[in-house]
């Protein structure tokens, strides 16, 4: 589990629990899609991410379940500093 820093980009590779995260897929977080961590909320949580051409706010605990690939090296989870 490595960290995405604000401004860093990655590609969604899957979810830790495919069944639970239908809602995220419906909101556009689909495997293969680029995500970018935009910023953290003033109190550290939630975080805002860019998926496609729009912005989502997501709680860290929920973002942890999105698996990402950075520069096609390894599978990580969307969890940041």
């Amino acid at each position: 589990m490595s960290n995405l820093k604000p401004g860093e980009e990655a590609v969604i590779s899957g979810f830790t629990d495919e069944l639970k995260y239908l809602q995220l897929m419906e909101m556009g977080c689909i495997p293969g899609e680029k995500v970018r961590l935009l910023s953290k909320a003033p109190f550290g949580d939630p975080i805002s991410i860019q998926v496609g051409s729009y912005k989502l706010s997501i709680r860290k605990s929920e973002a942890r379940n999105i698996l990402i690939e950075k520069h096609s090296e390894d599978t990580r989870s969307l969890q940041q500093a």
């Binding site: 495919e18 069944l19 639970k20 995260y21 239908l22 809602q23 995220l24 897929m25 419906e26 909101m27 556009g28 689909i30 495997p31 935009l38 910023s39 909320a41 003033p42 109190f43 550290g44 949580d45 939630p46 805002s48 860019q50 496609g52 051409s53 729009y54 912005k55 989502l56 706010s57 997501i58 709680r59 929920e62």
Partner: protein, 695 residues
């Protein structure tokens, strides 16, 4: 697939949140809108009529959703209305609103709607923004790919609306094809479904099976058959939905490839500059506080002027009726019951209109999502989300519009908890009660050279309200657990200028809902309270006390009447109950009459103490209460009693209008009853503790 005959009567508007659906609805219907109610459903369905070539077409604005699979009660209504042909709002045709800048995600829901099989048309909004990004959508090709008509519309500039109206007038066909039909259902289920719905698409059958699964109580014969089959056949719903969603996206990518030219497309980096400021570590919360303060001030002070006009107007109408009607019970009913009750309803309109004007601007500009983003962390501590902040802050002005504002909380559990705790916030109606009581019981001392003790107590009352609401939210986690199903993922829309038409329509529509729905209850309770305070056993000839009322002054007579009314006797009857919290029967009467609204407390006290009601009323009530002594010569309003009264008014649900609004928002008497009961218990217990401590 059959062709739908021309002559549409009912159209449903569906689409993703922030897709411009509401703007389109407003552009089609203007002010010809009303809110539909369905038994057992807590969701409002907005309806309007569009007049197209002298024909009236009913437009139903369904809640915005990302998919046909509901994540909340609001969203459930979408599939209910579209699938159930016996539903009173079931449409002849569907208009899917699509945000062209988020085509892929919007097409997911659109493709699901298409596959249901109702006549469907797609409307692309915000296409103008695409040009700037170097993306071009070919509507003709997209239409060919989707098998339904596709139109470009700009509701802000009224572009494309006429063309849409033309289509609505003429009618349009069922979709030419299914976009995605690969639902791996057990063949027994599919066959049974086909027998029940011979003409329907595979997808429709699948959605009906899901609906059967959800609606355990439905007596519909088809639902029953499917439910029976589901008992035998195991279906992994989530797995099918996940596969379907991925499959649809794949298909959508092909469709986009065919119909969208993005060769000139510049990689989008969403403008971060505004959010760099608005959600900045330091500036973000500060700007938020400033904006919340502004909204609060507006509801609190700006509304004060029109509220005074309403009060003056009510008084003026009352005088006219008083002067022309003969004295008697009818005049009393009309003036003190009906006119006062109506005035008591209208008086809330300024606060509701102003709050919803601001909320609509915050929503339209996209700042509302940022409020949730910034405050989510704080509210999570008590089991809520950032969406509860606006209602709670609004509750510091008035609980009525605040509870109506909980509508923006999609999660039903969080909405309910917010409704239950909002009345603890110190609303403006408590202020006159607090200032009167503090001036009587709290000495005007200065602490540390600059802190006024009375001011400090007032501040403490505000904090007490906030503290109690947070504590109750925390405790409610054990009684109303989180459903754990829906995620708190939220779209943060781009910042945009507010659309003033939407703002005004929201102000008008919310005020209308309050008057027509909560107003009825308020009027009835006002009349009941009027009856209790104006009539007594003597009036009904139950028993007659010989008392010479001839020599009394007007104020003494009013005082006598109130003391011998049903409310008066009730106040005396509950004295044994309220004695332990330091109240006497006079306060008992005030508690009963101020159920209408907390500020009535001062007026009732004025009547009880036979204060001549002109000029310096506050001062004379204060004097009368200050010098009142009991049979033993002790002050009636001792420190203990005053503190007990303060705490009681802080926690008790002393507001019939709030209860009426809670009933309207939860669509049942269950929650207002629970709320009234638990707040009264808390108020009584807290007052008991305070009184016994300071006695």
């Amino acid at each position: 697939m059959k062709t739908h005959a021309a002559g549409l009567k009912k159209i449903a508007l569906v689409g993703n949140p922030n897709s411009g659906k509401t703007s389109l609805f407003n552009a089609l219907t203007h002010l010809r809108q009303k809110v539909g109610n369905y038994p057992g459903v807590t969701v409002d369905i907005k309806k309007g009529t569009a007049e197209i070539a002298s024909r009236r077409i009913e437009i139903i604005d369904l809640p915005g959703t990302y998919s046909i699979y509901p994540k909340s009660d609001d969203e459930r209504i979408v599939s209910e209305v579209l699938l159930d042909s016996t539903h009173p709002s079931h449409p002849d045709a569907v208009v899917v609103v699509i945000d062209a800048t988020n085509l892929k995600r919007n097409l997911l829901f659109c493709s699901q709607i298409i596959d249901i099989g109702l006549p469907t048309i797609a409307v692309l909004t915000m296409a103008d923004m695409l040009e700037k990004r170097g993306i071009r959508i070919d509507p003709a090709k997209l239409s060919e790919q989707l098998g339904i008509p596709v139109l470009l519309v700009n509701a802000r500039r009224q572009k494309g609306i006429e063309k849409l109206k033309h289509y609505l007038k003429k009618g349009f066909d069922r979709p030419k094809k299914e976009i995605y039909s690969d639902i791996p259902l057990p063949s027994t289920l599919l066959k049974a479904g086909r027998r029940l719905y011979p003409d329907a698409s595979n997808y429709f059958i699948w959605l009906e099976i899901l609906r059967a699964q959800e609606s355990r109580k439905s007596q519909d014969s088809k639902m029953k058959v499917l439910r029976e089959l589901l008992r035998v056949e195991q279906v992994n719903i989530a797995l099918i939905q996940g596969k379907e969603t991925l499959g649809r996206y794949k298909k959508i990518e092909e469709i986009i490839m065919e119909s969208v030219d993005d060769s000139l497309h510049k990689s989008v980096q969403i403008s971060e500059r505004l959010d760099d400021v608005f959600t900045h570590r330091v500036w973000g919360p500060l700007i938020l506080l400033a904006i919340l303060f502004l909204v609060f001030q507006a509801v609190f002070f700006l509304a004060d002027f029109p509220m005074r006009w309403v009060e003056d107007g009510t008084a003026w109408v009352s005088t006219i009726f008083s002067n022309y009607l003969p004295t008697g019970w009818f005049k009393s009913l009309l003036v003190e019951g009906v006119i006062a009750g109506l005035g008591g309803i209208v008086v809330f309109i300024p606060q509701i209109a102003i709050l919803f004007g601001f909320l609509s601007i915050l929503e339209d500009t996209g700042y509302m999502a940022r409020i949730s983003y910034i405050t989510d962390r704080i509210m999570r501590g008590v089991g809520l989300s950032g969406k509860s902040v606006i209602p709670l802050i609004s509750g510091m002005a008035c609980a009525i519009p605040a509870i109506m504002a909980t509508r923006s909380i999609e999660n039903w559990r969080n909405r309910l908890v917010t409704i239950l705790i909002t009345p603890f916030m110190t609303c403006s109606a408590r202020l006159p009660v607090y200032t009167l009581l503090i001036s009587i019981g709290i000495p005007s001392k200065t602490l540390l050279g600059f802190i006024n003790l009375q001011g400090l107590v007032l501040l403490a009352m505000y904090l007490l309200g906030i503290g109690m609401s947070m504590a109750i939210a925390y405790i409610l986690r054990f009684f109303i657990p989180a459903d754990g199903k829906s995620l708190f993922v939220m779209e943060m829309p781009l910042y945009r200028a507010p659309r003033w038409r939407n703002v005004f329509i929201t102000m008008y529509e919310r005020s209308k809902v309050f008057v027509t729905e909560a107003g009825k209850v308020i009027l009835i309770i006002s009349i009941v309270l009027w009856f209790l305070a104006s009539f007594g056993p003597a009036d009904l000839g139950m028993h007659h006390e010989e008392f010479n009322t001839e020599q009394m002054t007007n104020a003494q007579y009013k005082s006598y009447k109130l003391k011998h009314s049903f409310a008066g006797y009730l106040g005396k009857a509950i004295e044994p109950v309220i004695r332990p919290i330091g109240f006497d029967w006079r306060m008992g009467i005030a508690v009963i009459t101020s159920f209408a609204a907390r500020e009535v407390f001062a007026g009732t006290m004025a009547t009880i103490y036979s204060v001549e009601g002109d000029g310096d009323e506050f001062h004379s009530v204060r004097e009368a209460m200050l010098h009142d002594v009991d049979a033993h010569g002790r002050k009636v309003y001792s420190l203990a009693t005053v503190l007990s009264l303060l705490v009681f008014y802080a926690f008790a649900m002393q507001c019939m209008s709030t209860l009426a609004v809670v009933k309207r928002e939860t669509k049942s008497w269950k929650w207002p009853a629970i709320q009234f009961a638990y707040m009264t218990v808390i108020a009584y217990s807290a007052s008991f503790i305070v009184y016994q401590l300071f006695r």
